[in-house]
């Protein structure tokens, strides 16, 4: 279905003191599954509830409590896998990742280390028209989120809120296929767009519902190609993982800082140590969180409370049959069916609501004109007022009505903009407003002819010039339209001016 030919973007090259360096980036995205209940309990996932009010006995790890898988969350993971053109594993299993922390009541996180539900997939990340990176997805697995520790409520004590404990996350693990900060951010954006199309994650980064661990390493030019040829990580540099990033901007800044930090170490003759780091946006730097030596030994083993998860191919097929059109396909279709530019198609497919609005407006109308109006007039106006498309004061029918008046020649483009403004602020049916306020383009050739004759008669000098240089005929058109109060149909005027001047 997808037929976008593209060339690869150039990797970011950072010039060191001694030589050039390239970046290699892989990501683990944690996407909260859009589900009303937790992964293994019926407790609500509602954000903003009283602390510790959405906690089932099993979430609080009360003695003898057992997890029961939430089938809806499994379905969302499968849907996401299908959306990333990934292999769906009909048998997967849950493992325990053991570590002690107060916001982890069980003393382990239930995750999927050995047998994830989704295997290899891919995401096409477009950087500019015709330039894109195909990022390989290694796996998607389901796991529990942890609770929240609160350290600033009391000088002597910490508190924990288990509302988030056990909420379902999808961890989407990429291969180290990203080559620069912009690509990394574009990848997150693309993934977010796909997840939102699928409805499997709301993509809210501010709430932490979508967050990224970013693995960064640097290497000399040429090394990455050797890695790709062999898949041998030995050709690449040692990576550091920057944890818990939830802003596109900070992801880019952190990668840039981290790459330069590693380059400085290497050019100084040092070695980069594999470690986990945190980004501090205030200081724009990454700081060591724990080294490889200090890394937890998570003692993963299969969770004996849960049988291996078996799903049926027929169930997967059912989910596949209900897949929505995804961004790449929608964009290709918009370009093909409506003749949109790459840029316009990108803008209009950025999210489902925009795309749906555009399609409704474009239905039975000129696609390009619809795109122009939706992007320039409507989106421009919405942006100016900070409104979402769902809150648009101008409906599909109203914008369509304006476009219909233009298409039938009843109003000019200039009038249409005025009319749009009236509809935006006052509401109402565009055709009725245009009629009531006399916003009608003059197509009566008699009236236009009289006006053309008058302007020609009044400006003999201009007539001479225009006959010598036909490009100047536009001046007459403008004058005629002006003399009719903007109501004269420009096409009719143009045709008549050209004829009368004998051009």
């Amino acid at each position: 279905m997808l037929d976008l030919t593209y060339t690869l973007p150039k990797p970011r090259v950072i010039a060191g003191a001694r030589h050039d360096w390239e970046l290699v980036i892989g990501m683990e995205i944690h996407a909260q599954v859009a589900s009303n209940a937790k992964l293994f309990s019926g407790a609500s996932t509602q954000v903003g509830s009283e602390p510790n009010s959405n906690v089932a006995f099993v979430d609080a790890a009360m003695p003898g409590m057992l997890p029961v898988i939430n089938e809806f969350c499994i379905e969302q993971a499968v849907r996401t896998g299908l959306g990333l053109k990934a292999q769906i594993n009909l048998t997967s299993a849950f493992d325990r990742k053991n570590y002690f922390y107060p916001d982890l009541p069980q003393g382990y996180q239930i995750s999927q280390l050995y047998h994830p539900i989704v295997g290899m997939g891919e995401v096409l990340v477009e950087m500019s028209p015709g330039v894109a990176r195909l990022v390989r997805i290694e796996r998607i697995h389901l796991e529990q989120d942890a609770g929240k520790s609160i350290h600033d409520m009391d000088p002597a004590m910490s508190f924990v809120d288990f509302n988030r404990t056990g909420v379902a996350l999808m961890e989407i693990v990429s291969r180290p296929d990203l080559r620069g900060p912009e690509e990394a951010a574009a990848y997150v954006a693309k993934l977010r767009q796909i997840l939102r199309y699928l409805g499997t994650c709301d993509g809210n980064m501010q709430n932490g519902n979508l967050r990224a661990d970013v693995n960064v390493s640097v290497c000399r030019p040429g090394q990455y190609e050797k890695y790709q040829a062999t898949q041998d990580f030995g050709h690449l540099g040692t990576r550091c993982e920057i944890k818990n990033m939830n802003s596109m901007r900070f992801i880019q800044l952190a990668i840039d800082f981290e790459a330069r930090r590693q380059i400085a170490i290497l050019e100084d003759g040092g070695t980069v140590h594999q470690e986990t780091r945190l980004y501090d946006p205030d200081k724009n730097e990454t700081r060591s969180m724990r080294s490889k030596e200090e890394a937890h030994d998570y003692r993963y083993f299969p969770d004996p409370d849960l049988l291996p998860l078996e799903i049926e191919q027929a169930w997967v097929d059912d989910i596949a049959a209900q897949m929505p059109e995804l961004p790449d396909a929608k964009k290709a279709r918009f370009m093909g069916d409506f003749g949109l530019t790459d840029y316009d198609a990108n803008v209009l497919t950025a999210d489902l609501e925009s795309a749906a609005f555009f399609e409704a407006v474009a239905a039975g109308r000129d696609g390009k004109m619809a795109a122009n109006w939706v992007i320039n007039e409507l989106f421009g106006r919405l942006n100016k007022q900070g409104l979402a498309i769902a809150d648009s004061p101008v409906s599909v029918a109203q914008l369509g009505g304006v476009l219909d008046l233009i298409a039938s020649g009843e109003i000019s483009g200039k009038m249409a903009k005025d009319l749009f403004e009236i509809v935006w602020t006052e509401g109402g049916d565009p055709a009725a407003i245009a009629a009531a306020r006399g916003m009608k383009q003059v197509t009566d050739t008699g009236a236009i002819e009289a006006a053309v004759d008058a302007i020609i008669a009044e400006n003999p000098g201009q007539v001479e010039k225009a006959r010598a240089n036909p490009k100047l005929a536009g001046w007459f058109v403008g004058q005629v339209i002006k003399s009719t109060g903007g109501k004269a149909n420009p096409a009719t005027v143009n045709e008549m001016v050209t004829r009368k001047l004998g051009l």
Binding site: F57, A61, M62, P63, G64, L66, N98, G107, R299, Y300
Partner: protein
């Protein structure tokens, strides 16, 4: 005969006939329970709950719609969470813990009208074979040799002692490596570990999730059938619970095993096994043969690896299952001193709350799961487990209906006797029983005779998965043939 000495079956019939009221039966047990403090079997008594339940049972009995367990006074192992009633799993780390929920097993029992007398002693977190790791001190075996106090076995030692001493009609137990069958054998009662997945684990404090299974500890095989009927069945709250219908176990007790095939595994004939055990086993074989079963020598070649594999898998799961006892949300929390942080809170809480055997198993479990050792220990143990399971599958595939083995390598030993022994000596108690847990099969211990010192000895029958009815029928035949009626002389 006092009412507390009745079997479930006899009490059920008497209750239904109106010869006995549930309140009188319960009073009789409460009296016996109070008189039995020397056994240290009950660690928390619930007489008010018992009498309320008994009165409700009498009302149901009067209406004539009472299930079999209606009005039957039971002891509940401390491992079961019972709503509003202390449930400490025999551990200080759960000091003061009163669950806000009722385990599925006790819920089902109470819905069937059963009466809870109180909570029963056990090894801490069910880790032990002598009940000596309990934070309450050991339960004591009603059976004695001279004046030496003996262990009732473990971990369900309180359950075994209480049933054997007629403090209750029956008790719940749990069995991870033999914790129902070994104490049953040590006290001359019947204990069945059902097929893994037959009884819900929801609300039972977890030791080793892939091995834990609850079951009844009763005076007779018939009682075990009646009791298991009320406990068993699918529970959507336990993902490992099997969605299978529960057959009528009591109806399976036909007493007819003619034409069935009993396997005698040669690997269970261990070096240094006491002749008394050997002789008991031979007697059991003869009884089954006399009852018309065909006796076949079989081989379960991986048996010798079972105990080491068990003592890798069970501690591994336990080390993770017990991580939740961290002092953050419930149970014991150590007093902290200035400068102590979260690490000190964990360390002090767990050092104070867990006894030495639990600590040992947490450390073993943590070790075998750690990076670099996982494959050598945990994964290898899982492979062994698969082979052990396959041994049994092959035997059953060849037409074996049940397997007869000794239940324990000895009769009950003295309390404190193993105190200075290598922990592995204690683990050897499980040598005949752990294979059954590793393979997820049903197994039952039946009292068959007394040893020279006058202590009970039991045999174990192992059945096909989900064939508890058939297994109980074989056990019933063995029980009848053995005619074990001895009771401990009352000293408590």
């Amino acid at each position: 005969m006092n009412a507390n000495e009745l079997t479930i079956a006899a009490a059920r019939d008497a209750l239904r006939k109106g010869d006995l009221t549930a309140v009188d039966l319960t009073m009789s047990c409460l009296t016996a329970m109070d008189a039995g403090d020397g056994l240290n079997a009950f660690v928390h008594k619930t007489p008010e709950i018992a009498l309320d339940q008994a009165r409700a049972a009498d009302a149901r009995l009067a209406q004539g719609d009472a299930p079999a367990m209606c009005g039957i006074p039971l002891g509940i192992k401390d491992l079961f969470c019972t709503k509003g009633v202390p449930s400490q799993a025999g551990s200080n780390i759960l000091k003061g813990f009163r669950p806000e929920y009722e385990s599925t097993v006790t819920t089902r029992l109470f819905e069937a009208g059963a009466v809870m007398l109180g909570k029963l002693n056990m090894d801490e977190f069910a880790m032990g074979s002598s009940n000596e790791t309990s934070c309450y001190g050991p339960a004591v075996n009603p059976w004695k040799v001279d004046d030496r106090q003996l262990t009732p076995g473990g971990s369900s030692g309180g359950s075994a002692a209480a049933v054997a001493a007629d403090l209750c009609l029956a008790a719940t137990g749990t069995d991870t490596g033999g914790s129902i069958r070994q104490p049953a054998a040590f006290t001359g009662i019947v204990g069945i570990k059902p097929t893994y997945g037959r009884v819900s684990r929801w609300g039972i404090v977890a030791f080793a999730s892939s091995l834990d299974q609850a079951g009844p500890m009763t005076k007779t095989v018939r009682d075990a059938a009646i009791f298991l009927q009320a406990m068993a069945g699918h529970d959507p709250k336990d993902s490992t619970s099997a969605n299978l219908a529960v057959p009528d176990f009591e109806a399976a007790l036909t007493g007819d095993i003619r034409g069935t095939t009993i396997g005698i595994p040669k690997e269970y004939r261990m070096d240094g096994m006491p002749d008394e055990i050997e002789a008991l086993w031979a007697r059991g074989i003869a009884m089954m043969k006399d009852a018309g079963a065909r006796i076949v020598d079989i081989s379960l070649p991986h048996t010798k690896y079972a105990l080491p594999a068990y003592y890798v898998i069970a501690p591994a799961e336990a080390s993770s299952n017990l991580a939740r006892y961290d002092g953050v949300r419930y149970g014991h929390r150590a007093k902290l001193t200035a400068g102590d942080g979260i690490t000190e809170m964990y360390e002090k809480t767990r050092a104070e709350g867990f006894g030495p055997e639990v600590q040992r198993r947490i450390m073993v479990g943590t070790y075998v799961l750690s990076a670099g050792f996982y494959d050598a220990y945990y994964n290898r143990a899982r492979r062994v487990r698969a082979l052990i399971k396959r041994d049994f599958e092959l035997a059953f595939a060849e037409g074996i209906d049940a397997i007869l083995t000794p239940a324990t390598p000895s009769s009950a030993f003295g309390l404190g006797e193993m105190a200075s022994a290598d922990p592995v000596e204690m683990y050897l108690n499980d040598v005949f029983t752990v294979t059954v847990n590793l393979a997820g099969l049903p197994g039952i211990a039946v009292p068959v005779g007394l040893d020279r010192r006058g202590l009970p000895l039991g045999l174990q029958l192992i059945g096909r998965p989900w064939a508890e009815g058939d297994l109980l029928n074989h056990a019933h035949v063995l029980e009848t043939a053995a005619g074990f009626v001895a009771k401990a002389d009352k000293w408590w």
